[in-house]
């Protein structure tokens, strides 16, 4: 599958870029003869724009379908890391073994790790690095803190997938994103209902007009807006950008 993905460099393979150059491009150099050197320089210049780590040590997701998948991978890493901490925290471990919330959070934790590992496997050599989260603002011993944080992550994930659909070119990746976003929406809905009954849909996440062009539709967000929020939960050196997804 990775054969169909346009390669981009990642922070730990900067020196090994030729390994990721597709066969066709290499063959081209052979036939291009004298101009090959100059062309390679130009391509190297282009690759600099797509590289995953810029001067400010921001992890860029890259361009095209790889960019969208890496963007999703970044968000899934963040969610998976959050729920992994939830499972260790006092709120979760203090719940009765058969409590509904315990089971719900255990399920969601599994789902998000499954999502993250799926993208890691699918992206293979094109995947961004493992990100380091910063959850210092969250109190994992406190129910309200955990639930409101979970709501924020899930709503953000739904808005992000919906907003990124337009950047996908390969239908099979659009379908995969669609398969995941509805599960994120299910997570968001139950968590919101746990916080406030009947808030599974509300005006903060859905346009509550019934007559506007975006009537009763999710308020999707473009990558730049999503990442501004997501980056507040990522450590220095793990902040993510999506410069090509605009």
């Amino acid at each position: 599958m990775s054969d169909s993905l346009r390669p981009t460099s990642s922070d730990d393979n900067q020196g090994a870029q030729p390994l990721y150059v597709p066969i066709k491009r290499r063959s081209f150099f052979v036939y291009a003869g004298a101009t090959a050197g100059a062309t390679a320089l130009l391509l190297a210049g282009c690759n600099d724009d797509d590289s995953n780590v810029d001067a400010n040590t921001t992890v860029d997701v890259g361009a095209g379908d790889v960019g969208v998948l890496n963007y999703a991978y970044a968000l899934e890493q963040l969610e998976a890391a959050f729920y992994a901490e939830v499972l260790k925290g006092g709120y979760f471990t203090g719940l009765a073994p058969a409590a509904a919330e315990r089971q719900i959070f255990a399920d969601i934790a599994l789902h998000e790790q499954i999502h993250a590992d799926f993208f890691k496997t699918a992206l293979a050599g094109n995947a961004i690095k493992a990100l380091t989260p910063n959850f210092s603002a969250i109190n994992f011993g406190d129910r309200t803190s955990v639930l409101t944080s979970a709501r924020a992550f899930e709503d953000l994930g739904v808005a992000a997938y919906n907003g990124a659909g337009r950047f996908i070119t390969d239908p099979k990746f659009l379908v995969v994103a669609g398969k995941i976003v509805s599960v994120e929406a299910r997570h968001a809905a139950i968590i919101r209902d746990l916080i406030t009954p009947n808030s599974f849909v509300a005006n903060d996440v859905v346009d509550f007009s019934t007559t506007s062009a975006t009537a009763r539709q999710e308020r999707s967000k473009l990558p730049a807006e999503v990442l501004t929020t997501a980056n507040t939960f990522l450590a220095e050196g793990s902040k993510v950008s999506a410069k090509s997804l605009v």
């Binding site: 399920d107 590992d117 669609g178 997570h187």
Partner: protein, 317 residues
């Protein structure tokens, strides 16, 4: 300049490019009819005119987009009138959930209005409540008690989620319409999750649901778990939770995504107090991905809910 090559390249991202230009042959007849030699200088002007004609607003939406949105619109009518009928049945909906059903009904109304505005004159006309038979020819009694009402509601919402997912690739040529459809799709998924929670409450459940919804799907999770033991009303809606039809449209118990066997490639977190057996892993992986339904299967499911009037109006054809 190799025109055929250009068309071939466009075809990769727009399968209907030739239809947009009427037919491939007519394009060239049109060019021949200009009565002058095609030169490198005149070509860009001609191409500009051709592409403007093919992709300009006046040509309207492609057949794929119109068909996909009109199926979605008919599903929205189905859901809107279902919730509206429930709200108009005294004592059916638990008082505490009336606000939720009202939200869902109004969500469907908003979706109807939005889809109608995109489709314009091509929109499937409002068939009215008379077009629907929610008893599916007296096989169901959804307005007799809350449990039955929410059972059918879950089936309709899960159908909607799967239908939008299946239709999305056909909307890729128009990014704004695609985004609108995605933004509706996730709202339907939120509905399904809420309805599933209500069904747990109605069943007296105190947990978060059982794998596959437990016996007779009486205790569903908020997400689709494996094949839901056939679903809440299997006699009518079996294909929603069925085995699937093709690799592109698998059953909800699917664990392979984009050729990746996700069950085998996941590094599972440690869940305190839980031993993750292979069966639990398979269920979690299946739950983590909702699956699309193809339009023919969607229509076959929802045709169960047409009245004779609905048949006469060409609903779900």
């Amino acid at each position: 300049m190799d025109l055929l090559k250009i068309f071939s390249e466009i075809e990769k991202i727009d399968g209907e490019v030739y239809e947009r230009f009427d037919t491939r042959r007519r394009v060239f007849r049109h060019m021949a009819g200009l009565g002058k030699t095609i030169t490198a200088a005149t070509m860009p002007v001609m191409l500009g005119a051709m592409f403007n004609k093919a992709y300009g607003q006046t040509t309207g939406l492609s057949a794929d987009i119109k068909n996909t949105l009109n199926l979605a619109l008919q599903l929205e009518y189905l859901e809107y009138y279902y919730y509206d009928a429930g709200l108009k049945t005294p004592g059916l909906i638990p008082t505490a959930d009336v606000p939720a059903v009202t939200i869902m009904r109004d969500d469907e109304l908003g979706h109807i209005n939005a889809l109608k505005s995109v489709l314009g004159a091509d929109a499937f006309p409002d068939p009215t409540v008379a077009a629907f038979d929610y008893t599916a020819s007296n096989r169901l009694a959804p307005f007799a008690a809350a449990a039955g009402y929410y059972a059918t509601a879950q089936s309709l919402e899960d159908t909607g989620v799967r239908a939008y997912k299946g239709g999305a690739p056909k909307l890729m040529a128009n990014k704004d319409i695609l985004t609108a459809a995605l933004n509706i799709h996730s709202v339907e998924a939120r509905h399904s999750a809420h309805i599933r929670m209500v069904r747990r409450t109605l069943a007296g459940s105190t947990n978060g649901g059982d794998i596959a919804g437990g016996a007779n799907n009486q205790n569903p999770k908020s997400w689709v778990s494996l094949r839901e033991n056939g679903g809440p009303v299997p006699a009518v809606t079996a294909p929603i939770y069925g085995p699937g039809t093709t690799t592109d449209f698998p059953g909800e118990d699917n664990v392979t995504q984009a050729t990746v066997n996700v069950q085998n490639t996941t590094t599972y977190p440690t869940v305190p107090g839980v031993t993750l057996t292979d069966a639990l892993k398979a269920a979690a992986v299946a739950e983590a991905f909702d699956e699309p339904l193809d339009d023919l299967t969607v229509k076959a499911i929802v045709r169960n809910f047409r009245s004779a009037i609905g048949v006469g109006k060409g609903l779900f054809v």
